[in-house]
């Protein structure tokens, strides 16, 4: 078990380093930082001096080390476009994205898992078939269309919910949250639903497939043959065996949530990191792009590591070695 954890840790560090290298290459080689930062008026000598001061003439390896070191210390450089420190920019937008993502993920799990279990246990019922058709359509509709649909329905036609922005935020220290006011929640609903709906259908289909497969295994047959009560067979034996592989996928899903938040934030003009990234693409603001890359990868790797640890904690086969 310790070996397994160590292996995963090493793997994670490797991935982070690789991503950092990608980000660094991006930063260093795509476009010329000097020409981005200065105007046409700056003399060639000044440019050369700037180049020297910023250490752009040092060997690449040294620059990369410096880049990584800076990142680890929290110094993310400055945006080409706004000249603000990127760290602060991201931090100010982090709560928006994180709250959106977490709520969306919760929605997808709270609805998706029970729905998946239900459709697996009662595959031929009317409700199951309807749900299945619904998920097929759900998987086929791009996130932005869902967003537009929801805006149209609830925002335009019914006028119940606000369609853009993040109204009603409360500041707790540096964290600007929208979870503490009714208005905040009302503006959170549509974006969270948009983001969560896609994940929900994925979760549901996954849980269903796993559960159906588990119900066919030998140990379930044996439990039935022993007369174990159906309730226990379904919700203790089958469900627990289903959840183990599902948990890993949920970790991957978080990555999807982060990715699709870009789209959702765009549709709803939600002031999160995704919107920032989008703008940085449009304006070719390289530093922001590369930092975003690293931050996202970090979250992703962290979540996956946690999920793997969780895996080890739940599955006795990984925890306890075969002794007999």
């Amino acid at each position: 078990m310790v070996g397994f954890i160590l292996k995963r840790l090493v793997q994670s560090v490797f991935v982070m380093l690789a991503v950092a290298f990608l980000a660094f290459s991006l930063f260093r080689f795509v476009g010329d930082p000097i020409s981005q930062m200065t105007g046409v008026e700056t003399s060639l000598e000044d440019q050369a001096r700037l180049r020297e001061d910023l250490g752009l003439n040092d060997p690449y390896f040294v620059q990369f080390a410096r880049f990584t070191g800076d990142m680890l210390r929290g110094d993310f450089g400055y945006s080409f476009r706004t000249r603000e420190p990127i760290g602060e920019m991201l931090l100010s937008r982090l709560p928006a994205t994180l709250e959106l993502g977490v709520v969306a993920l919760l929605v997808s799990l709270v609805v998706g898992i029970p729905a998946g279990v239900y459709t697996a246990l009662r595959p031929r019922g009317i409700l199951s078939q309807t749900i299945l058709v619904g998920t097929l359509i759900g998987v086929s509709i791009p996130t932005f269309v869902i967003g537009i649909l929801l805006i149209f329905l609830f925002g335009v036609q019914l006028g119940w919910l606000p369609t853009f922005g993040r109204g009603g935020t409360v500041e707790i220290g540096w964290w600007r949250s929208s979870l503490f006011t009714a208005e905040g929640w009302r503006s959170l609903v549509l974006p969270a639903l948009t983001l969560g709906l896609f994940q929900l259908t994925l979760t549901m289909r996954l849980v269903r497939a796993q559960m159906m497969e588990v119900m066919r295994t030998d140990h379930i047959r044996f439990a039935i043959a022993r007369g174990v009560p159906w309730r226990s067979i379904r919700y203790r034996h089958a469900l627990s065996n289903t959840m183990i592989p599902v948990i890993t996928i949920i970790g991957l899903q978080f990555g999807g949530v982060i990715a699709f938040s870009i789209v959702t934030e765009s549709v709803f003009q939600w002031p999160g990191m995704g919107l920032l990234f989008l703008e940085s693409i449009r304006f070719v603001d390289i530093p922001v792009m590369s930092v975003y890359l690293v931050v996202i990868a970090f979250f992703f790797v962290l979540i996956n590591l946690l999920v793997d640890l969780l895996y080890v904690a739940i599955d006795p086969r990984l925890r306890v070695r075969e002794s007999v």
Binding site: L6, D218, H219, V228, D315, V320, V324
Partner: protein, 567 residues
Amino acid sequence: MLKVDGLSVLFRHRHGATTAVEDVSLDVARGEIHGLVGESGAGKSTIGAAVMGLLPAAGEITSGALTLGDTDLRALSAVEAHRLRGKRISMIFQDPQTSLNPLMTVEAQLVETLLAHEDISVDEARARAIALLDEIGIADAATRIRAWPHQFSGGMRQRVVIALALCTNPELIIADEPTTALDVAVQAQVLDLIRRLATKRGVGFILITHDIGVIAQVSDRVTVLRGGRVVEQGPTARVLGQPGQPYTKALMAAVPPLDRRLDRFRLPRVEGEREVPGSADAAREAEDWLMAGTGTGPGPALEMSDVTVRFRGERRGIFGARENFTALDTVSLSVRPGTVMGLVGESGSGKSTLAKVVAALVRPAEGEMRLDGAVLPPMGARRRSDPSRRIVQMVFQDPYSSLNSRHRVIDILGEPLWLYGLERDAGRRARLARAMLALVGLDATAAERHPHQFSGGQRQRIAVARALLSRPGLLLCDEPTSALDVSIQAQILNLLKDLQARFGLTTLFISHDLAVVRQMSEDIAVLKDGRLVETGPSETFFAGPAAQYSRDLLAQTPAVRFGMEAG
């Protein structure tokens, strides 16, 4: 106690329906072990499932009565039927590895089963569970009960499975191939346990198996099934010792005896079964071609000296040493030219690994191999163009995965001819392939078909044909009949015997079944945990083995001891 009367079961599928079981009647008394024996597809598992009410969705009972004591099993509602399971009838399956929930401790599973059927406290349930494990033969039950299923070995796991089936004191336990996945020694213990339970606790058993030796060893009465119908029924000694029906006679004639070596299995013709002769001319053509290549001399001598194979294992802890697994430990053996050496051992003994070393599929850490005195390069050193690639050929255990189902038979057979440059003309290759099919007893029309259109036995014949088409000198047979039904096995063994007599190939015949090995080999070698325990002439071995392990192995092999008359 259990009475099955005129049971018929139908399976619906897209082409219509198949009758899996037709008009089967049997009964099991208290404390009786009733064997249900038959080849694959005979319907034995279906009967077990039908009694339990565990038929898959496509199956339905079309007629017949199922009575347990006074209870009409077919008249029960779903809820009542489920309550009956475990309480009065229980069932155990073949693979102990997958029969237990990996996420629950043994204790949890036992206690849950007990509490499902009886109104007792958790502590009481736990106490009973421990007592039961003790009775079943699991040492240190009070501590072991807290363990997880994966912490038990195969035999122990099956005992836990039996304990789970037994804990609610059912009247009847249906055991579906309970020892097929176990080693001979463990199998003996489990069968012993079943016998004890039947006698002491009065539990009735339906023992479903394809292994006649098991039936002979432990069952009181037996029902022989074929194609869903009962062929013969009665006390085991009578049915197996003096079978009345032609099918049963043929079946018994196909069982390899442990106590002597047959020249050939005398398989009487049973109606509905024909051994396709194939054209005799074509067969002769193949034979001539083979003889032309190998000459009239016997195959090469195989010498293995101090062959050692190690597999890399997991690291223990962060700084612990890697636990490597030694599959073969300084094994030395020689196979005389043109003879068959039988290699026996239990699972994990390394016999397959040995064959793979010779075939250059596994790399030995140490040791040397020689073919007729010349060095046989091991994996990594053996080039693709090395002549030994052609001379050493192998027949694998699983007929269902040893042939690429995407290729036609004629392409599969043409492969060695093309690869080794034995026949450059495509037309002649096809002709030779068809001739070889005739030699192994298959019709020439088989050439255009695909492997999945053939049965297991036919596929093994194709595999043998493929091996022969490279003009081999050394043939490695890795459990070639273990996946086949008894009667088909006898046919294939006959084929191999005939080929051996005609062409004198040096053969290494690997099997876990001592009786089969006795029929095939002139010399024998016994492996245990990667070490060579004993080696020597076969008949001397079977008359009285030298090593204790070999003696135990021989004693534990279930044998049909009714003195069969050769049909």
